[in-house]
Symmetry: C2
């Protein structure tokens, strides 16, 4: 998928991945990858950005002797997802503009 098209989707995908239950980097990648390709460097950049924007909170916990950073969605994060749903409506109208057919056999001259 085109990189540019992914932008704006990735942040919300990560939020969606932790929406139902707290998750951690490695798991988020596995959950999101079937839908969008997402590298580790990209993911951790996104997590930092979302944390800075207070869309998620972080807590470190031990899991089988190893430390894991768990990410928890905040109300701002949930709001972002809702906002995205509205933006999707705009996306749909843009999609229609792009895919709409012309009225055939009109004059091709530019007036």
């Amino acid at each position: 998928m085109d990189i540019q098209l992914k932008r704006g989707l990735l942040d919300v995908c990560v939020l969606a991945a932790i929406k139902n239950e707290d998750s951690y980097g490695y798991k988020i990648i596995k959950d999101v990858k079937p839908y969008v390709e997402l590298s580790e460097s990209t993911l951790y950049t996104i997590l930092k950005r979302l944390e800075r924007a207070n869309m998620l909170s972080v807590h470190t916990a031990e899991h089988e002797g190893r430390l894991r950073k768990y990410y928890h969605i905040t109300s701002a994060g949930l709001n972002r997802i809702e906002e995205f749903k509205n933006e999707w409506k705009e996306m749909l109208s843009i999609y229609k503009f792009i895919t709409k057919e012309d009225i055939q056999n009109e004059q091709t001259r530019v007036s």
Copy 2:
């Protein structure tokens, strides 16, 4: 609309705006603006990029004593639009991933 979300859409919007008939900068902006906000500097950057990628060709013509640069879509440009339609399917699956409810809420929903 979120800037990041617009990326990847803008190029295809511009291609769509010249798909049916050759157009020029000022007109493209007017045609696209009802759907996506698009500034002049952004448009001309995009036009240059699309020209470099051979997705459109340019010819200058006089219109009422003034020079205009007309942009004409190429087969590569038309292919890009078709490609976008396929990418849109991926977008849809991502959208579903983002908006899918958790199992608890799923049960209360009408199928």
